[in-house]
Amino acid sequence: MNSSLREPDFRSGATKTILLGMITFLISVLPMEMNAQKNTKHLAVSLVSESSDFELGSAVVLTFSVKNNHKKAVSFCEYMTPFEGFNGPILKVLDQEGKPVQYVGVMRKRSEPGPDNYIHLESGESESVQFDLLVAYPIKAVGNYTVQFIGNKYMNALGNSEVVEFRVR
């Protein structure tokens, strides 16, 4: 009898509550991160230019969208997407000679993304953001340009967008 008392009694109410609590905690915390970058291949990324040509010096307005084509809800991290603004060279902007336009925005040290940094899309749902390209990529000469969003395999697991062409006159 004495020896059995020293063993943890899984039938007791208190132990059950603790175990249940631990399991609930693990269920609630673990899948958050693991699911975060799952099924992102079902997310369609698009970049659209408001116009096919812009005047030199005026805003180059682009719309970035992500649509969930999966039958289930999917989440993705907003880090290094236009949804959070510019924190790195997330676009590839080329002039007509194929020369890259340099990124001039900030580069930041911060912690790994937390739950608040994920965007949740239900099946069929999409989210868009409009931004001015010149904020991070100054265009100083007239000519033809191309711009493309480059997905970050590890941070947001999004694919690249199609290449968008526009003219600056």
Binding site: G88, V106, R108, R110
Partner: protein, 255 residues
């Protein structure tokens, strides 16, 4: 990916390294020749100025450094305190913290130089676990060596300006620091997380400075953030690890 490495090498900004790289010992050895040359060349004159700064806090005249070359060199190594400007911060406490972080950053990166070897456990942990048979491991070692040298050099030879957070984006508390890669001056803008961090160790104030300088002088990016993902990158995608700012920071912080 290797093409990317080469491109990044080529991207090296001229403003960053105006000086030839010379170790303190070599510099001491050539003092007299340099002194002569300085009369004719402004660039060499600058180098002599740097030597003076490094050999004594009070910038003693060159003639004072004639005694015991080896002794002087050893002293130089200990005496390096990165030049920096923290005038934007009025309180003494913040200035003191910045100074401690700068000194610590220099010590860390100098020590990390000795760990850049493809078989060193710390290099393997943060840069290239050597598991994935991707690209050229030796080229990656060279790339990391180049980056670590550049970070050490900028701390030793140039002035870093620490500035207040200047963005109205509501991200100040989560941000350790940020830089503009294209700015001519070495400005590092400090966020709330910087002040909460320890002076040295992982995710520290000193490490933040190394992280930011890696963006400025070695064209690193932020492919991943945090120790867990940085370590995973070193295993699964070392080509990206050697261009990721946090990997340089962690390599130095663990040195």
């Amino acid at each position: 990916m290797l093409t990317q490495l080469r491109k990044e090498d080529a991207k090296q900004r001229q403003s960053v390294n105006p000086m030839p790289t010379t170790g303190p010992a070599t510099q001491m050895k050539h003092t007299s020749q340099l002194q002569e040359a300085a009369n004719n060349s402004p660039q060499v004159q600058q180098l002599v100025q740097l030597q003076k700064g490094a050999s004594s806090k009070n910038a003693a005249p060159l003639t004072a450094s004639t005694g015991g070359q080896t002794q002087a060199s050893n002293k130089d190594k200990k005496a390096v305190e990165p030049k920096h400007n923290s005038d934007e911060f009025k309180g003494k406490s913040k200035k003191k913290k910045i100074k401690a972080a700068m000194n610590s950053a220099y010590r860390m990166i100098s020590k990390a130089k000795g760990h850049v070897d493809k078989d060193h456990p710390k290099y393997k942990r943060w840069m290239d676990a050597g598991k994935a048979d991707i690209g050229n491991r030796d080229k990656r070692v060279e790339h990391v060596k180049d980056g670590v040298n550049k970070i050490e050099e900028v701390l030793r030879e140039e002035e870093i300006t620490l500035r207040k957070y200047g963005l109205a984006d509501g991200e100040e508390e989560e941000t350790f620091a940020y830089v503009y890669p294209d700015e001519v001056a070495h400005n590092i803008y400090l966020g709330g997380a910087f002040w909460d961090a320890n002076t040295s160790g992982y995710n520290s104030k000193a490490g933040t400075i190394i992280h930011e300088l890696s963006h400025r002088v070695h064209s690193t990016e932020d492919h991943v953030y945090g120790m867990k993902d940085a370590k995973a990158l070193a295993k699964d995608d070392p080509q990206l690890a050697v261009t990721n700012a946090d990997n340089y920071e962690f390599l130095a912080e663990g040195a």
